[in-house]
């Protein structure tokens, strides 16, 4: 029993000694070897979402934070996935005024032409990749502006927000979309465009062809017939380049009615999910 107690005592002394020696050593070392870390970068990293999606134009979140911190980049709005919270956070760290009003923007595919509705020109055989297909005369669709449907946007989407819907057409899930715009960059036909998250209607067509050509190419394309703009002048529809464009800041009466009146059905009411 005595030796046990004696050992406890030894242990007490030696570990205390070891601990203090190491603690002392570390403390000294910490002082001598101190390298200042950039606190701003760390603080910024706390606010950035850490997705490393690259939509800010940098390789990842950290390089963007470094650029902001060092002042080599003064644009604090470059992080799209972060949204308002991130912007506010960055603003706080860098002591800058930020404007966080305005809705979150999400991507959407402006085309509903698929098998049975859109005409094709030839049989495509090759890679399942939109950019690869567009090398061959801009894709197999007769319409040059539509969605090629080979899913390159799905592949690049970091949030898994894009998929084929029930009709087999490409559609963005606005709840999952983080607004990084990667799909827009990869899409060869430019059919994906940003719309506000709370968008009520969408003109699901991107064809700038003349009405006659559009009609020949696709049964659900916007033919620029002006019905929406003329019948509902306050609803915010405007025709440019044979294509109706919805103004989202200008939501007058009759927006949903216009969808019903659209002869080709290219105006779609988005249900409030």
């Amino acid at each position: 029993m005595l030796d046990l107690i004696l050992r406890t005592l030894y242990g007490f002394i030696s570990v205390a000694f070891l601990g203090s020696a190491l603690g002392f050593g570390l403390a000294i070392a910490a002082k001598k070897l101190r390298v200042e870390k950039d606190k701003t970068v760390e603080a910024l990293m706390g606010h950035l979402p850490g997705l490393n999606c690259g939509s800010c134009g940098y390789a990842g979140c950290e390089p963007y934070a470094e650029a902001l911190s060092s002042g080599s980049d003064s644009d604090i709005t470059k992080c799209k996935p972060g949204g308002a919270a991130c912007l506010e956070g960055i603003g706080q760290v860098l002591e800058r005024e930020v404007d966080t009003s305005g809705p979150r923007m999400v991507a959407q595919v402006h085309c509903r032409g698929g098998e049975g509705t859109a005409e094709t020109r030839y049989r495509y055989k090759g890679l399942k990749d939109c950019n690869a297909a567009s090398i061959l005369f801009g894709g197999d669709k007769s319409c040059q502006y539509g969605c090629l449907g080979l899913g390159s946007c799905m592949q690049v989407c970091p949030a898994d927000a894009i998929d084929y819907d029930e009709q087999g057409l490409v559609w963005v899930d606005k709840n999952k979309c983080i607004g990084c715009e990667k799909c827009i960059a990869v899409c060869p036909t430019g059919v994906i465009k940003m719309i506000p998250e709370d968008a009520d209607v969408i003109v699901a067509c991107n064809s700038k062809d003349k009405g006659k050509d559009t009609k020949a190419n696709c049964s659900v394309g916007c033919i620029g017939c002006q019905i929406c703009a003329k019948k509902f002048p306050d609803a915010g529809y405007k025709i440019t380049d044979n294509l109706s464009i919805v103004g989202y800041n200008d939501r007058g009466p009759g927006r949903a009615d216009a969808a019903e009146k659209c002869p080709t059905g290219s105006i779609i009411v988005l249900d409030e999910k």
Partner: protein, 196 residues
């Protein structure tokens, strides 16, 4: 056991990762690309060799004479943690380039089971100081080998169409499992027959 035997044992037969499960976290975490895998491997090798040496001195120099074997865990981990931190700070101060290459992995090593594991194994196998150092070094090399091979496989898998739920960590485990299956080729009997 001869030194060559110790090296073969800890590189192939009792590979830290593939047969002892020590150091799995960094093995899975830092094997996504080969450069960081090799960096991690060398950092672990260095720390394991040093830790084997220092813990041997602590154990046989202090704990055994004072009959304090029960304080083994606390003493070892204290020494290893301090060692890692010291190494990290020193590297950061004196070689920023090396720190950039290794530094981010060094804090991870504190909680790398492989380092603590080899220290405990050294005690269990009753190695002398040189044998301990050899075992630590060989264990690190075994770790380096496994993580390097793994990273090459994962780089290849990055470009393959791995099913969605298996992507990332799960497929890394499955790959590790298949590696371990193959490494069953190396057993103690092989070593015994080779070097007697």
């Amino acid at each position: 056991m001869s030194y060559i035997g110790i090296i073969i044992t800890y590189v192939f037969i009792s590979n830290m990762i593939l047969s002892q499960f020590l150091g799995l976290c960094p093995f899975i975490g830092v094997s996504k690309d080969s450069d960081s895998a090799v960096g991690m491997g060398f950092a672990v090798t260095f720390v394991m060799s040093m830790a084997s040496l220092v813990t041997w001195i602590i154990y046989h120099g202090i704990l055994v004479p004072l009959n304090l074997e029960f304080l083994q865990t606390i003493a070892f981990i204290l020494v290893i943690a301090s060692l890692v931190q010291l190494v990290e700070m020193a590297v950061q101060k004196f070689s920023p380039a090396l720190y950039k290459a290794l530094g981010i992995y060094l804090p991870l090593i504190t909680t790398n089971c492989a380092v603590m594991g080899i220290a405990l194994i050294n005690v269990r196998e009753e190695y002398n100081i040189l044998e301990s150092f050899t075992a630590g070094f060989a264990g690190g090399i075994g770790f380096l080998l496994a993580i390097f091979l793994m990273s090459a496989i994962r780089v290849k898998l990055d470009k393959e169409n791995v099913p969605r739920f298996l992507k990332g960590t799960p497929i890394a485990f499955v790959s590790g499992g298949l590696m371990a299956l193959a490494f069953m080729a190396f057993d103690r009997a092989l070593l015994a027959n080779l070097i007697g």
